[in-house]
Subunit: 446 residues, 2 copies
Amino acid sequence: MKTVLALACLASAATAHAQTHDVAALRDAALQDQYALEITEGLTTEIGPRLAGTEAEARARTWAVAKLTALGFSNVRVESFDMPVWVRGDEKAWVTAPFPQPLAVTALGNSGATPASGIQGEIVAFESVDALIAAPDSAVRGKIVFIDHAMPPTQDGSSYGAFGRPRREGPTIASRKGAVGIVVRSIGTDSHRNPHTGVQTFADGAKPIPAGALSNPDADQLKRILKRGRPVKLKLVLTPRNIGIRQSGNVIAEVPGRDRSLPPVLVGGHLDSWDLGTGAVDDASGVAITAAAAKRIMDAGQPLRTIRVVWFGAEEVGLFGGLDYRAKHGKEPHYAIAESDFGADKVWQVNTKLGMAREGEAKALQQALAPLGIVPGSLTEADGSDIGPMIADGVPAIALSQDGTHYFDLHHTPDDTFDKIDPAAMRQNVAAWTAMLAIVANTPAK
Amino acid sequence: MKTVLALACLASAATAHAQTHDVAALRDAALQDQYALEITEGLTTEIGPRLAGTEAEARARTWAVAKLTALGFSNVRVESFDMPVWVRGDEKAWVTAPFPQPLAVTALGNSGATPASGIQGEIVAFESVDALIAAPDSAVRGKIVFIDHAMPPTQDGSSYGAFGRPRREGPTIASRKGAVGIVVRSIGTDSHRNPHTGVQTFADGAKPIPAGALSNPDADQLKRILKRGRPVKLKLVLTPRNIGIRQSGNVIAEVPGRDRSLPPVLVGGHLDSWDLGTGAVDDASGVAITAAAAKRIMDAGQPLRTIRVVWFGAEEVGLFGGLDYRAKHGKEPHYAIAESDFGADKVWQVNTKLGMAREGEAKALQQALAPLGIVPGSLTEADGSDIGPMIADGVPAIALSQDGTHYFDLHHTPDDTFDKIDPAAMRQNVAAWTAMLAIVANTPAK
């Protein structure tokens, strides 16, 4: 009797799916999607750069509310929070000896400032963070540290972890050793004179010093100059400022489910961007892809579960939006959470962390995504930027992992602009997210 | 008897060639050349940017004299000349309405200056120079002109001529129509946020106005903003200065020939560069390739004719070096003149303008270059930048034409740096120039 009932339920559930959401048909139709491109084009054109906590990010929230409302989403709202804000100033660098010439530099997030007239110091160069750690303080004191590295591109972006250390750890270590400033080779894989910014945070007790990134060609140049064996002097002008506590916020919108008692499925990306580019791949495309997928499900009929779209604020400078969402909603049940924040290249792998009991659902997802050229990944691991802390808390999560081979060519540079988006790759993303939502937002199991 | 004598002479000449210069062997050995890379690396590293008439270009001349002397050239000297000098100042642009955001801009050569606080004006956009010409003055007066275009890459670089018009003609026309400033889409084929500078000269009577180039992604962005149909306002800060008359000069070196009564063969490139990059492809590689070829001939034995290596000064800002050389030496006979000033990609075609009487020599050159993948071009046309006026005067000339498909990705941008040089392609250039010199510098006919 139990088996018969279970089968009947399953059949009924399957019928319900079939009525509202034909996964394969929705997936394939999404390969013609225009919503994601339109959102990405609109946000990057009508707002442009939108640094967390600034007036530009506030304009982006207003834009987002209007856009999500116009698309037909429900419960469109902003959840505000306060945060400290750091803004860029002038940024210039010159080798002053032995071969005077300018270098292209940008300040890292939370960099200390030089006087307007700059600072000057002898370069002391290290091949890695570990080499800097190993150096005696006396070799560093009063100098400007240069840390090199050789980050290779990787499909899964994993090189960012290891090779990001000069940016994340270098400034604090250099400061503690008495350096007057630091420049690191950009954490990037391109060869253009557009340095890569990115956040770093001085550890407690470490005095903020001017901290910049050189573009890869400039780091190459500095290496060639250093190789001549003569003392190399650098002049550095970086005049960023901390402008105090300002407001940021998460923009939230929903596709209400048929059964409001069921935990929602959360999808999203982050609305803020670094200030150098217009944040097309980081992360207009993420908010666009996920909202486009939710829009397509909405238009195909009401899903069983509520889909909650979150465009997080202030991700770049310290995951403030993700942490605020977690503080306000982390205790509420979520059926699954997923974030797109790795550009707009094709999804190549699906990873899930839904728990053993939902292995069937994960497998169904793998099968639905296979026709898009997406391979099965882990059943016990998933990641995301803003949602990372909630994943660590144990909230079920899905990661549609994008090919990151070229992501770090553009990441955090002036070159992160709309022209870099490949429409076909972006549509493959929308198809993957649409298929995912069509399955997960219609799965009845609690 | 005459025929016998002629044949004997020919045989003797052929033997003389063979003894000193085996064309094929020299050509093939040059495919392992290190001189050109070493010169390019040295000049771009130890001098870096070297804007005409500045202290940096003077340092480049000192460097050049030392380098050419160390390589064993004779009669190494500088021929100085005076010239007016324009130097870059601050350069920034912002859309201020309807969608406030910064744009990447650089001043064109001889641009007028804005006040330090900038100017502000409504954008009036044109798809071409002809559209600007056709517009009534009333549509332009008091506004900031934007000229778009759609320059495609071409192998022979010929698109530069037609699509360079916005830069060369736009500022004068806009000024005459009463515009307060002008920005043009960069004359370039890349998609990076590095605007392309380049010279323009206000025609007599046209008041210098601020004239800049937007990078291609920024021009795309401005187009998208304009497409929204609302008035677009731009703020422009360009503070270049004319610093008066300064000294530049040509650096000249020679491989003395066995017969000093014979006219020399002139090869070279230009020593100055634009100030944004380190002038690796424009034109450290040109001076390096031609000097490397002359060095290889010198080391293989004294050529019949003198080879004169000229590293011209002040090419970028108005061919001052070429015109000075012509003024001083244009009346002296030259057996052939040739310049390398189109990057470091492979030579794909050989063009000659040696006259009907020397068709055999031109054909021998074509044959010698064919194994390098170089195809025969014209027998009646050749070009060059600094040597252009002398070619127009009728001096025999040779052009080893490089593949320009990617040249305008880098041309006049910050991205023109040493890392962009492909060593194998550069060596193919050296091989071509070495083969050319081995033939032409050993041809006895006057």
